[in-house]
């Protein structure tokens, strides 16, 4: 096991353009499950590939286990990686796929069988060992890719959107399996995803990236409850945080905190909404409305309620408890201290 560290890592693909990754500093903890989360083009995969040694940083240092590995090949970094496409070797059986890293690293041949059986048992694919990758389902391929990655017990485990090729149902179970699996082996893991649910569910900590810049690093609870800026506030959460202009600040609050006025505590900000749309999602209702009066009149505000019996076109009183309000500086869009609102 090892700690991965990046120091001011930057990757510029085309000179003169904005880097894909800009000045990223981060340190994993021992045995941590760290998630890189960001929309496509945020640089999360490029950052992972630089850690893997598949991409050379334009500047900055990458350290694994305290050692600068910039000039080391992927093979010398003792990392394992699961690719988004799984990158299984199509001409080799599952057994040979899993044994390939052992062979390549010069593990004595008599240990191969034992290790392959251990890895395939851990992922319950021992019955597939003689098959070729094309005879496997998506979920089975993903497990083979994970088995191939763990078989030589790497010091760091890198996963590049390993669940994105699975259908929704399989994705949930594969996610749970990966979580369990990480708890069992305890290897430092870096996981790239654009799916906030995966990030929140799996990560010990989440690194939110946007345009190659780290916007926030924190536990899922921190990034969700206390977003560092408006990007994080709106990227995490579905539907996203409501953001309303108020003087020189932006006020944000989560849809689930905008409740009917009767249910709100006394220290709350009131908002009268004219309902413009209501969506029923089974376990919850999503209510869209326009604030009445001059509080951000053109803005749609979203509320998320366990039950809602509201008719489109009618007006209702809603409220947000004051301690649920988050404030962002209007110019920098960064988090700022709470202050009194200038609303009437």
């Amino acid at each position: 096991m090892a700690i991965v560290e990046t120091r001011a890592v930057t990757k510029v693909f085309k000179a003169g353009t904005l880097g894909a990754v800009n000045d990223v500093d981060l340190v994993t903890e021992e045995g941590e499950f760290l998630v890189f989360l960001g929309p496509s083009g945020s640089g999360k995969t490029t950052l992972l590939r630089m850690i893997a040694g598949l991409e050379v940083p334009t500047s900055g240092d990458i350290l694994i286990g305290g050692e600068v590995v910039n000039d080391l090949t992927p093979r010398e970094r003792r990392i394992a990686m699961v690719f988004q496409s799984y990158a299984l070797y199509p001409h080799l059986t599952v057994y040979k796929n899993i044994a390939f890293p052992l062979k390549a690293q010069g593990v004595p041949r008599d240990q191969h069988k034992k290790k392959v059986e251990w890895a395939s048992g851990l992922l319950s694919i021992d019955h597939l060992l003689q098959r070729k990758p094309r005879e496997l389902s998506g979920g089975e391929r993903q497990r083979v890719a994970v088995a191939r990655a763990i078989v030589r017990e790497p010091s760091v485990f890198l996963l590049d959107e390993p669940l994105s090729n699975l259908d929704a149902k399989l994705r949930a179970s594969a996610r749970a399996e990966l979580e369990q699996f990480h708890r069992r082996v305890g290897t430092t893991t870096i996981y790239v995803t654009h799916d906030q649910v995966e990030a929140m569910a799996m990560g010990d900590r989440v690194v939110v990236l946007h345009k190659g810049v780290v916007r926030q690093i924190g536990t899922p609870k921190q990034v969700y409850d206390d977003p560092a800026d408006t990007f994080v506030a709106t990227f995490l959460g579905s539907p996203p945080m409501n953001l309303l202009d108020n003087g020189d600040v932006i006020v944000g609050f989560r849809p689930e905190h905008l409740v009917p006025a009767a249910l709100a505590p006394s220290a709350a900000i009131k908002l009268t909404l004219k309902i413009s749309n209501v969506e029923y999602l089974g376990s919850e209702w999503i209510v869209y409305g326009r604030p009445e009066g001059d509080r951000a009149p053109d803005k749609i505000v979203i509320s998320r309620l366990p039950t809602a019996d509201l008719t489109i076109g009618t007006s209702h009183d809603f409220a947000v408890a004051e301690h649920h309000l988050r404030f962002f500086d209007k110019a920098s869009e960064k988090r700022t201290t709470a202050r009194a609102l200038s609303w009437p």
Binding site: L54, P74, I79, L88, Y89, A104, Q105
Partner: protein
């Protein structure tokens, strides 16, 4: 529009399309039938007859031509040479073109120009190229010998006669033929290489494989269908081709570079023994048919996987 087009128009459309299809297809069919099919059938007819240039007597003689051709030492020599010529040039082409394709796969300054240079032997008329090589390897004016002498690798009075000594002549035609086939094979393999998913060699790198292991255990096995196609094409092409031999050595010295196609030409056309020439030229048909069958199957497999 569908309503106004009416019944007739609807019914006519497929038939006019069919006519156009036939019209477009016909030139190719006529071309193949006249220039390939007819001579091929004629070769079979001649091979079982006593036809000679100038004499009309076309009697059926059964397998007599094959029997007498098999007795002929020149034929046996040419048969052996054909295999040596084909197998060694194919080995050289496969190794060389794989190396070239690997070198040309990655981006570097001037890659486009180098690719163009490598394609040149394929684009230039082969007889021109072969004549060029004939001069390069000439007994008196050979630039190769000039260089070797200048480097003191051979003595000025004991220069190799590239096309005049049996072994050297064979090596020369094999090398020139390799030079000629290399671009085509390189292009096929290059296409195969660029079609390989990029993350597979990356996965191999992360898994700890070095260059050679990735090449021999991942890249080449994955390229196998493509390599097979390139190789089988090369085999057929080489077995049936005589240009390099004809231009450079005319089969000499003492038939030491004679291959079946050139022998068939010299016997049938220049020696005016049409029947024997035809028998020689279709001698390899069964073998080549198997190769062609394999090639089509491989091509199909390459498409599927």
């Amino acid at each position: 529009m569908a309503v106004t087009a009416g019944h007739g128009a609807k019914r006519r459309r497929p038939s006019s399309g069919f006519g156009l299809g036939v019209a477009m297809f016909l030139p190719a069919v006529i071309y193949v039938l006249l220039l390939v099919g007819v001579p091929f059938a004629m070769a079979f007819v001649y091979a079982f007859s006593d036809a000679r240039i100038g004499s009309g007597g076309d009697h059926f003689v059964g397998f007599d031509n094959f029997a007498s051709v098999l007795e002929n030492p020149a034929f046996r020599k040419a048969l052996g040479n054909s295999f040596i010529f084909t197998i060694s040039s194919q080995i050289l082409v496969l190794v060389g073109s794989t190396a070239l394709a690997l070198a040309l796969k990655d981006k570097f300054r001037g890659r486009g120009f180098v690719r163009f240079l490598i394609l040149l032997p394929w684009v230039a008329p082969i007889s021109l190229g072969a004549i060029g090589w004939k001069w390069i390897l000439d007994s008196i004016y050979s630039v190769v010998n000039w260089v070797l002498v200048a480097l003191h690798l051979v003595k000025p009075f004991n220069r190799p006669m590239w096309l005049g000594q049996p072994t050297l002549a064979m090596i020369s035609v094999i090398l020139v033929h390799t030079w000629r086939l290399l671009p085509f094979s390189t292009v096929i393999i290059l296409a195969g290489l660029t079609a390989l998913p990029r993350d597979i060699p990356e996965a191999a790198a992360v898994d700890g494989a070095g260059f050679w292991r990735t090449l021999f255990e991942i890249t080449l096995p994955m390229l196998r269908p493509i390599l097979n196609v390139a190789m089988l094409f090369g085999i057929i092409f080489t077995f049936t081709d005589m240009i390099v031999v004809y231009v450079m050595t005319a089969g000499g010295p003492y038939d030491s570079t004679q291959v079946l196609p050139s022998l068939a030409f010299f016997t049938g056309i220049q020696g005016s023994d049409l029947a024997a020439g035809a028998a020689i030229s279709i001698f390899l048909v069964p073998l080549l048919a198997v190769v062609a069958y394999l090639m089509l199957r491989m091509a199909h497999r390459a498409e599927v996987t």
